[in-house]
């Protein structure tokens, strides 16, 4: 179970003056059960890249394969692929359309060919997972708050029980509590359902705290692909492309420079506390 990209190039509006090469020679493999963070400045090709994972976008050159099969092969069933590789777009609440929350979440499972009854069961499970209670089932999705809408929209993908879950900045525009809610939810699903999660984010703190593997994109190419801890050592290079290491890493480095005996590579507050080498 893996997604593999080989020499993938993607060009927007080829043959016109607006021609733009969004992806350059991408080679990448995402394995089962990984929690991957995808990071990069605006326009670095992150969103284009993730749309290759479920075949919404066809690479201009190169091969995308899922479980060893070319997803743009002649007989390949891309609809089934999309049911296994769940993609949550940016601001997913903008895709809600049904009159009732429960019906909207059941849209995906219904497209999977489940019976009405089964689809509703899946929808209820997914809503419970994101913490939306029964009293919301018959409400209109448009009456909900921003954070609630976001949760309902994510439930819409979760209800399909994807084996790989991709999220494009799922926390954009949410308050700190809503953000933590969603990230904790992802961590829980990743642990319980043993699925692969690919998280696109701008927040170094979130990435450092949740992911095992981090991919940094710059101008359509992969710049780093390693554990967050190792990548954040290159904070100078990251700054050059408009990114940064987590705040806490900078703090720890300053402390180290000032002569304190601390772990300057800490990337989360918890690690930093341990790395202070004090017996508090």
């Amino acid at each position: 179970m893996s997604i593999k990209l080989e020499n993938v190039n993607y060009i927007y509006e080829d043959g016109t003056i607006n021609r733009f090469r969004a992806l350059k020679d991408i080679n990448l493999e995402v394995n089962d059960g990984e929690f991957v963070g995808l990071i990069g400045h605006t326009g670095s090709g992150k969103s284009t890249l993730i749309q290759h994972f479920n075949g919404l976008v066809k690479p201009t050159e190169g091969v995308v394969s899922y479980n060893g099969e070319d997803i743009f092969g002649e007989k390949y069933n891309r609809k089934n692929l999309r049911l296994e590789v769940g993609l949550v777009f940016q601001y997913p609440e903008h895709q809600l359309f049904e009159a009732e929350v429960l019906q909207d979440v059941a849209f995906g499972p219904r497209n999977q060919g489940l019976s009405e009854k089964e689809a509703l069961i899946k929808a209820k499970e997914a809503l419970a997972l994101v913490g939306i209670g029964e009293n919301y089932y018959n409400k209109s999705p448009f009456e909900l708050s921003g954070g609630e809408k976001r949760k309902v929209a994510i439930a819409g993908i979760l209800a399909m029980e994807p084996k790989i879950l991709i999220l494009d900045e799922p926390t954009a525009g949410l308050d700190p509590k809503g953000r933590d809610n969603i990230l904790e939810l992802l961590k829980r699903i990743h642990g319980e359902r043993k699925i692969t999660v690919i998280l696109v984010s701008h927040s170094m703190e979130d990435i450092a705290k949740y992911v095992d593997r981090m991919i940094v994109m710059n101008k359509g190419s992969i710049m780093y692909d390693d554990s967050p801890k190792k990548i954040f050592r290159y904070h100078k290079e990251l700054e050059e492309i408009g990114l940064a290491a987590p705040q806490i890493t900078y703090l720890m480095q300053r402390l180290k420079e000032s002569g304190y005996d601390v772990d300057e590579n800490a990337t989360t507050i918890e690690e930093a506390l341990k790395g202070l080498n004090i017996n508090a």
């Binding site: 999309r82 993609l87 895709q95 359309f97 995906g108 448009f142």
Partner: protein, 265 residues
């Protein structure tokens, strides 16, 4: 699918045609459209074709790009051509039931098709070489005299420019929503007419909501900048005729003269 709609799209280039005053281009488009209906024999159409090709060449817009706009009217074209072919009375060449193919029909159908195609090419050439802002500026100025009879020209022009500006935004939005629903297993291609129409609901509802949201945001933003309509409003780039514009008007007169003259050949 959505990429085929080139009506109202602008093609960035710095040609003579692009630099013309928008009023000149508006007027020129009108002259061209009128000339298509004035011309009634092959010579008139030859002149129109040459003029059109000349302008296309001068505009430096790739021919491929211009022709793309025609895809939108293929069906309209087929219907009007077949009506003209089979319903025009005259010398019958071929007959099948109530369908009669006549010489006059072929003649009419041919000119009708050419007219329609030139109409679309002519007007898309204007939008391809003029930014929506310039276009509405030109319209506003050219129709300014209507203000005297209490027609809110500025407001109408503003509405037009907003509408034009929103076409690409809403197209992009549609594309995004379609992808999002496809990611949830939606299928827009298979099934009968009814099923396909039904499958549009998950696109149309979010699109409508987003259009209203954007309209609302824009209205608020305009309010916040104290927009209050046209009265006493000045322009950052007021339209002024240049030398090239005068020449263009001269060319129009010559062109119309030729078209009218051709009718007597």
């Amino acid at each position: 699918m959505l990429k085929d709609i080139t009506i109202g799209q602008y093609y960035r280039e710095n040609s003579i045609i692009h630099r013309l005053d928008p009023r000149v281009k508006l007027f020129g488009t009108m002259v061209f459209l009128v000339s298509l209906f004035v011309a009634d024999n092959i010579f008139g159409y030859i002149i129109a074709t040459l003029a059109l090709l000349g302008v296309i060449k001068l505009s430096r817009v790739p021919f491929k790009f211009i022709v793309r706009g025609l895809k939108a009217i293929v069906i309209l074209l087929l219907i009007s051509v077949s009506f003209n072919l089979f319903t025009t009375p005259g010398t019958i060449i071929w007959k099948f039931g109530i369908l009669k193919l006549t010489y006059e029909g072929i003649y009419n159908a041919f000119f009708m098709a050419v007219r329609l195609i030139y109409l679309i090419i002519g007007s898309s050439l204007m939008t391809l070489t003029t930014t929506p802002n310039d276009l509405t500026d030109g319209l506003e100025k050219a129709l300014g005299f209507l203000n005297k009879i209490k027609i809110p020209v500025h407001e109408i022009a503003m509405m037009m420019s907003i509408a034009l500006r929103f076409i690409p935004i809403l197209m992009e939005e549609t594309d995004k929503i379609m992808k999002a629903q496809r990611a949830r297993g939606a299928d827009f291609e298979s099934g009968g007419v009814l099923r396909r129409a039904k499958s549009m609901v998950p696109i149309l509802v979010p699109l409508l909501i987003s259009a209203f949201r954007r309209a609302n945001d824009l209205a608020t933003a305009m309010d916040a900048r104290c927009y209050r309509g046209g009265e006493g409003r000045t322009k950052m780039k007021p339209l002024r005729y240049k030398k090239g514009d005068g020449i263009a008007y001269l060319v129009y007169v010559i062109y119309l003269g030729l078209i009218v003259g051709a009718n007597y050949l």
